[in-house]
Symmetry: C4
Amino acid sequence: MAYQEVMEAARKNVGSFCKACPICDGRACRNQIPGPGAKGSGEGAIRNYNSWQKIRLNMDTITENRPINTQVQIFDVSFDLPIFAAPIGAMKMHYGEKYTDMEYNDILIPACRNAGIAAFTGDGMDPEVMKGATTAIKANQGFGIPTVKPWDKDTLLRKLEQIEKSRSIAVAMDIDSAGLPFLKNQMPPAGCKSVEELKEIIKSISQPFIIKGVMTVKGAIKAKEAGAAGIVVSNHGGRVLDGCPGTAEVLPEIKEAIGDSLKIFIDGGIRSGQDIFKALALGADAVLIGRPFVTALYGGAEEGVKLLVDKLGEELKDTMMMCGAYDIAEITRDMVRN
Amino acid sequence: MAYQEVMEAARKNVGSFCKACPICDGRACRNQIPGPGAKGSGEGAIRNYNSWQKIRLNMDTITENRPINTQVQIFDVSFDLPIFAAPIGAMKMHYGEKYTDMEYNDILIPACRNAGIAAFTGDGMDPEVMKGATTAIKANQGFGIPTVKPWDKDTLLRKLEQIEKSRSIAVAMDIDSAGLPFLKNQMPPAGCKSVEELKEIIKSISQPFIIKGVMTVKGAIKAKEAGAAGIVVSNHGGRVLDGCPGTAEVLPEIKEAIGDSLKIFIDGGIRSGQDIFKALALGADAVLIGRPFVTALYGGAEEGVKLLVDKLGEELKDTMMMCGAYDIAEITRDMVRN
Amino acid sequence: MAYQEVMEAARKNVGSFCKACPICDGRACRNQIPGPGAKGSGEGAIRNYNSWQKIRLNMDTITENRPINTQVQIFDVSFDLPIFAAPIGAMKMHYGEKYTDMEYNDILIPACRNAGIAAFTGDGMDPEVMKGATTAIKANQGFGIPTVKPWDKDTLLRKLEQIEKSRSIAVAMDIDSAGLPFLKNQMPPAGCKSVEELKEIIKSISQPFIIKGVMTVKGAIKAKEAGAAGIVVSNHGGRVLDGCPGTAEVLPEIKEAIGDSLKIFIDGGIRSGQDIFKALALGADAVLIGRPFVTALYGGAEEGVKLLVDKLGEELKDTMMMCGAYDIAEITRDMVRN
Amino acid sequence: MAYQEVMEAARKNVGSFCKACPICDGRACRNQIPGPGAKGSGEGAIRNYNSWQKIRLNMDTITENRPINTQVQIFDVSFDLPIFAAPIGAMKMHYGEKYTDMEYNDILIPACRNAGIAAFTGDGMDPEVMKGATTAIKANQGFGIPTVKPWDKDTLLRKLEQIEKSRSIAVAMDIDSAGLPFLKNQMPPAGCKSVEELKEIIKSISQPFIIKGVMTVKGAIKAKEAGAAGIVVSNHGGRVLDGCPGTAEVLPEIKEAIGDSLKIFIDGGIRSGQDIFKALALGADAVLIGRPFVTALYGGAEEGVKLLVDKLGEELKDTMMMCGAYDIAEITRDMVRN
């Protein structure tokens, strides 16, 4: 099976909102929410994509021809590539009848592990989603990062206990979920959290805590104060607030403010190894990729996931070689230009 | 009735110029004047709309989850939202046969009041228009802002006397009306006014006086010298002069020059709660919205107006929560980026 | 006859290259040269047009309502408007069979004079063109500006003698004509001229001498050194060199370098009274307009020309009133923004 | 035969990927690789083209009308124009069945020489390609620049020996070829080279050595350290790395860093004499042009090449005259604006 065949199969399997486009840039699905499109005008996902395209690569091949190493250490775990599958949930609402959240995670988690990376998993109002995700992560030696929504305290503590037991690599909370239209006025309630509230939550669990949905220097500093081990620079793919900047626009200033004190992940419109290279050059430690993992899995199950990871890895290696970085740590800010 | 149904009904009722577009951005009606389009090339309304889209929102949800308060005090009156219906007139010329100016105002004024906001009303060559508007405003405890054109002194004084008696919240003059093609060489004559002339006019009435149609720092300072209590940063939706900047472009410099010495209203292409938030962040105290009130009213009468105000209010609240402002006064300049 | 009818008639009369477009912006005729399009890629004329659209008008109607005066004095002659018809030649090659250059000038010169302005006339390889133009100008009390191509010295002196006798208001030379593809390798030869050569030419004639085709500060300073009384900031409508900046882009720096020491004319994509106002605000003393005079004349002869001039005059007056300038001399740099 | 007829003939002869477009800007062939399109998203070739269009020409025709001289001296050889045919290889893979690499070179090398310029020739996995190229160059008194891929040392030394014997004007290496998808994992292997490796290679041959594929100041300085006599600022037409800047974007900073210490060639989207002029004004000594030579040769063989060179030469001369540069050395930075 070739990646292109996976995408063709995906077109039949992913429901009516996602078109499994050859270039996944938020145009074909704009305005479809619920459904996987962006909120409001639908410009959010498109802006994310475009903000990577504006950054250009400083090619330099007058370098010693060494083997390329894409391995990274994050929270004392070694990964083959600085790539994570992004947390996705409510699969049936967004991507049609093929998979429940549990079925999706049961394929994704081992598929990612076998491909040398790890998956973030999503959360849902149905408690079975987190239960299933944490069970699957535990069964895969903790290779996964459960992502909990910013629920009320009781719900949170119950879910964090499950996560604690999964011995997952880390735990994440998508703090920006309060903006998801389909979570409005639902039970359990989800909402913003203060630094004090986050401190208490973070202390309650032993895994490294990642706050997802940071788009400002101010937010990054608050995440640090709250005791987070990492942040995900993210606007939730444009799905929580119409009118955000692209994540590539805000990454450099957040990196400058935060330095190496937190691990910096980023998502939003990252679609190729070139984009991954750009994110690393601008200061990210790793990237999260969402929709392409959905289409790869819906089109080719575990094999699809492997093909996607290999394709991204090859593109990243090719870009590293062409810009003179033979190790992830050698990727520097001057290798891209705005 | 849902807002989308209101818009569908509007499409049948608003005449041939306005298309009641899902995104009201000045494109479909450009060049149609008289008719509700913009003057000359028709770029004015489009530029207004686009200038809000260029401003981006700095999302930050690491905040305490408090109740959101959108109430504002303007001229010692309390409003549920910082939103006003903009003055519209010559309804039959612009929007077909359904309503006269008087019929439109008789629906709009109480509908806005019941929705927790107030309407500016338009003016016309026919003296019955102002008579009807002021009568309706008086019947609604003064909840409305009659807007008078910059007529000759005698006409003005006669109209201001009617307005005085209406006990309206405030009074406005759209000083830029001289540029309206259909007012050229008509009776009574309308035209520019000097600071001295405005001083005399403003002194003649006890209500707070708002000068609408200010697009420069120079103009704002003159409005202040003349004794105005507020200004509307406005280019009349592109209908009085082709080639103006978007109102969002000039608001920051006017706010910087004027500070809190005048109330600053703004209109032009504001179509969502996100846009309202951007206007407040850039220094406005409240916004005026025109065309969407026309289509809401033509499509759903009082219920349509209510649905529009609720929609805008929900979007504004959502944006405030996602940017960490739980009260209108907490919306600050650093919550948006250009 | 209305201006729109003139344009409809023009569409039938102007040959196959010009489409007499409602918005004359160089798109429909691009790449057609010979024919009235721009040279090479055809972007030159489009860029000229767009460069005016980017400049925005600072509306301010808090002003005393005075009568508007558009009169200007140039070379001690009074004109009703700061507008000149641009020199056009080779009519049959560009605009079909309807008029010879002589017939065109015989209508244009008196039509402009009667409309309160004056026409520049074009030149050609056929000596009859200049003879006809100067005869017509003389018959109209000198109300016209013959424009001579940069021929060899003998041809020039012969033509300048004819011009001298016409008692024309002024004389112009389109120094950039060497770039016209249809003049390449023709007789008489046309080409660049040094400051020394221009000095001698300018001294040979008593009328004020205008050098047309200046696009740089360097060129403007050389024109002054050569003894010119004025320059036309022009790239020949994109017809002599593909890739020039728009004339609006270079006007401010030329004005800053030259001040009031030379009269500054400008052409290139000026299509409305708003554009004329922008040109004056950026430092021009008057504008030249080309294509619209061609279509007005081909569509409505003298009446068409009158309708065009009136339309432009009304738009200019309207813009002046809306920006608070009641006299041409009151139009200042701060009335526009880039 | 006219150039337009050559292009029409080319359309039938160049295979299915290249469309022999009237404006060769990378749009019609994007994403087709192998095939002559750009890599990845295909934006690379388009960006190259567009980056020249953004640079504008400062026309100035107030100059003495002297004869125009386009001759340049490079590596002590005199050329009629600062233009070289770019190295192209794998003709059958990219341009259909009409010509082998050897047949293409056998037409191109003498055609260029007869037109007063010289051709770079390409390289291939098949050793016959370099053998054929060097034989043809030798037969044409060394008028050609063989371009070797960055092979392993043994392959390189063998090929450089052939080149040495050809007595070619110079020798080039496209150091960025490692990014060509169709060279991946092939024999002989091609890859990056360090400064030390390049030093040894460059010392092994007596001709001036040109490193092609430099896109950064850093790379240019390394090329100098390695002993190169010249560089080609090039991103291989977007074919080796998706996301590079346009070559016109990086040329000025490379020129500033390198000065006159190396000859600077440039390619990428240069399609007209105006573009050539812009490249020279920004600091290049000469340009390489690729695709247009392919279409000219496939459409008109030697005559097509001659027509292309003449067309480019005429456009260059025309631009020089219109900007006041009568000799290549007189083209200066202030003759263009960004």
